[in-house]
């Protein structure tokens, strides 16, 4: 069936102009992993072409090959009808290909301006180069509506702005073919909307766009055609008109998926966690969190919605004991805490509070550790894992890890593999499995940041399922997500944050995109 699909696709798109990108019979192996097999990709110029697939399906690899980052083992590539041999990024850039990588390619310690011109400086004297580039960029920003503060250091910029910066970078290099690998994974709905306006604008100007994403809504909203990959192969290649979200989802995962609300309504019970008047002031004296009070009850999922950077992260850090607030109190597991003696991650766990952090690469696991070591991070001193003199029971650790991988379908199912070698989706499942596994015993509090960032829909469905299960087991779950859909799909009660304060709280019944959007904008 795939071959047919490919064939039909190729016929139907018999356009007059040569395709912007034509990749044929692309093969790529990483040792044992067969990342791309006989991949066929045709992208008509001036269109937005979506690429979807599960984590590890081979999307990034394929794009990296197109951008000359990896070398294909076999296959031809032709750009705008001309056969091309792309050995390195330099050639790719010369051919008018630009790529916005899944993990930003920016130097945090340099200014946005310097990042843009790096490698393409018009003059060897920075002053001159900067002046020239700045002029060009300001024009470009006006045309495309991509606004970036050029003189700010990158690490001072919000993710959304970094994203725009990456795109500017590509366009500045005269990209006619623009690759975006999971651009919206880290964007807020607003930012995403803004991005799409930009991309449509670019399409108007004849730019060809390749978009990798795990969010099928975006595909439907933006793309002209879409290619679906599974296990390194193309399984579907079609015009948007001829498909639907469910169709795509089925093609991706090989079965129907349901991301809507499901399960019985919540039956809130006792208060497991209560916070009053939390406030956080950062080193620069800026208030990041102010007068935040909330309660988590057994058997409910509370969603925190809000444009990222409005205090959600600080809230999670405070509640999980990573940082102490400058004001406020917390009651958890019958104990109460004050800023003077705040709980730390260790006591937090002892009081049966689990935490899935937002930044899985920085916090959730130690990337060079084997999966089996990362899989007990935070629980290492449990008697289950450590004996007298802090001697570790490694057998137990390995066995449990294998079990978690089994239960949460972590691929590849190899406890010994380095944590860094797992795809984000799979890393996420592993972390969730770790935080959830002590659930069996007794109800507790679970804090989750961005549960499904960079995760494919199959996994999303699964993860949502687990979270609901924990709620039904009597847990109090707090979900922070920049995905409105996710909040709407999971939460029984939604708290909206703006500028570090709670700008509103709604039971799920009263939640509408519009209502929430207003609150996120700060309207009371």
């Amino acid at each position: 069936m795939p071959e047919q699909a490919v064939a039909t696709a190729v016929q139907t798109t018999g356009a007059s102009r040569p395709p912007a990108v034509l990749m044929q019979g692309i093969e790529k192996r990483f040792g044992a992993v067969h990342a791309n097999r006989a991949v066929q990709l045709r992208v008509d110029s001036g269109t937005v072409h979506g690429i979807v697939g599960e984590n590890g399906a081979g999307k990034s690899t394929l794009m990296s090959i197109l951008y000359g980052f990896y070398e294909a083992d076999a296959g031809e590539i032709s750009i705008e009808g001309v056969p091309a041999k792309i050995r390195g990024s330099r050639e790719a850039i010369a051919l008018g290909i630009g790529m916005v990588h899944q993990h930003f390619m920016l130097v945090d310690t340099l200014s946005a301006l310097d990042n843009v011109m790096l490698g393409a400086e018009p003059s060897w004297r920075l002053a001159a180069a900067r002046a020239e580039v700045r002029a060009k960029l300001e024009a470009l920003m006006r045309e495309t509506g991509l606004q970036v503060q050029l003189d700010a250091l990158v690490h001072e910029l919000p993710v959304g702005e970094r994203q725009r910066l990456e795109i500017l970078k590509a366009l500045f290099r005269g990209a006619r073919i623009l690759i975006l690998d999971e651009p919206t994974a880290v964007l807020t709905p607003q930012e995403t909307e803004q991005l799409f306006v930009t991309l449509r604008g670019l399409r108007q100007r004849g730019t060809t766009i390749l978009l990798i994403t795990h969010k099928l809504k975006e595909i439907m909203a933006l793309c002209d055609a879409v290619t679906v990959m599974r296990a390194g192969q193309v399984v579907l290649d079609t015009k948007i008109a001829d498909t639907s979200i469910d169709g795509l989802a089925e093609a991706m995962v090989g079965r129907r998926v349901n991301l809507g609300r499901s399960g019985a309504a919540a039956k809130p019970g006792a208060v497991l966690l209560g916070a009053q008047g939390l406030g956080v002031v950062d080193s620069l004296g800026v208030a990041r969190l102010a007068e935040v009070s909330l309660q988590l009850r057994a058997g409910e999922i509370v969603g925190i919605a809000g444009v990222s950077g409005n205090g959600q992260s600080e809230l999670l850090d405070v509640l999980s004991g990573l940082i102490a607030p400058s004001s406020g109190t917390l009651t958890l597991g019958g104990q109460s805490f004050t800023p003077q003696r705040w709980l730390n991650p260790r006591t937090a766990r002892a009081l049966r509070l689990a935490h899935v952090p937002e930044d899985r690469h920085r916090r959730a696991m130690v990337l060079p550790f084997g999966a089996w070591e990362s899989a007990v991070l935070g629980h290492q001193q449990q008697p289950r894992y450590s004996r007298w003199f802090g001697w570790m029971r490694q057998r137990a650790m390995r066995e449990d890890t294998a079990l978690m991988m089994e239960r949460y379908d972590v691929r590849p199912r190899n406890p010994a593999l380095r944590s860094s070698k797992f795809s984000g989706g799979n890393q996420q499942k592993l972390v969730l499995a770790r935080e959830a596994q002590f659930f069996a015993t007794e109800p507790q509090v679970l804090l989750v940041g961005q549960p499904t960032r960079g995760v494919d829909i199959g996994a999303i469905e699964f993860i949502h399922g687990r979270l609901r299960a924990m709620r039904d087991a009597g847990g109090a779950v707090l979900v922070v997500s920049s995905e409105l859909d996710e909040v709407l799909a999971l939460a029984d009660r939604v708290i909206v944050m703006n500028a570090g304060r709670i700008s509103g709280e709604l039971p799920i019944e009263q939640c509408s995109e519009a209502a929430l959007g207003r609150l996120m904008g700060g309207a009371q």
Binding site: G31, A32, L322, N344, P345, R346, A348, R349, H355, P357, R362, R363, A364, M365, V366, L367, P368, F369, E373, L377, G378, Q380, Q381, Y385, S386, F389, G390, W391, M392, Q394
Partner: protein, 369 residues
Amino acid sequence: MSQPVELPRWMDVALLPAVNLAIALLVAGGVVALVGFEPLQVLGLLIKGAFGSQAGISYTLYYATTFVFTGLAVAVAFHGGQFNIGGEGQAIMGGLGAGVVALALSEHLPAALMLPLMVLAAAGFGAVWGGIPGALQAWRGSHTVITTIMFNFIASAVVGYLLVNQLKEPGNMTPESRAFADSARLPGVHDVLARIGIEWPSTPLNLSVLLAIAAAVLVWLALWKTRGGYALRAVGFSPDAAVYGGIQPKGLVVMAMAASGALAGLVGVNEIAGVHGRLIPDFVAGAGFAGIAVSLIGRNHPGGIVLAALLFGALYQGGSELAFEISGFSRDMVFMLQGLIVLFAGAMAQVAAPALFKAYKALGGGRHG
């Protein structure tokens, strides 16, 4: 850019180093020939000197003992994310510790109490000398490379002062302390063997060699089998993740540096308690710095470190043998040889890998590898 290839484990840990060593010896041989000596004779003597006789082996092991201590010291700090180049100073302080307790108590205490006490003192002094930079790093963010370099100088100044003004025996030319009583002398291996009736030449090799082996095993267990090691490595790789895991990086950094210093301090046991039997000024003689190379060539793993230490020990002993046997073969040529071998066997360790990999593939290995 040549690709680092993933060799099968056995090649990576066994064959590659062997090949590197071979290359290193070849190059060294070439240079030796250039300077006008007979390469085969030199290399032959180097090896024979290091392993060819009971005395040779003993000296090799004796030097290796010191390098195991300093190598482990570097490795422990390294796993905690710290670069400790203060092994030199920490070893000196270790010697001072051992010396001070010996001078104070060796007349009054039996060996059974004295020796453990000296070991503790050596480790303790070293631990302090490593722990202070650790603490400065943890709470003041002072870079350990700077502080440990400075502490090297300070250590030699302190010991220099004490030897000249306090500990020197009057009327003696030498800035050395008086000899310890026998209870403070760690038995030499030849003594022990003699007691069980085995004839063995008298060499500096002493029971510290067992201490070194024990230290290597303990470090391995501590780093990879205990919660503390787990926490330490977590801090070394990713402090943020460590904090999330309920680990306090500051404390661990200090602990790691202190442990590192303690290991370096044990050099004092080998040299002061084991060999000289008195406190002398220059007993470390660069072993602290050599430890850096030893640790990294041993890939910061106790097993590797023991092997690397043996290599260095062999180079030292074989080297002095060359100086004995070949007239005109100065100790500086020995230094040069040692440098070249570290260069080719250590720093250029990966150069041969791709070729090996090709050969390996050619021989049909590594399908589904």
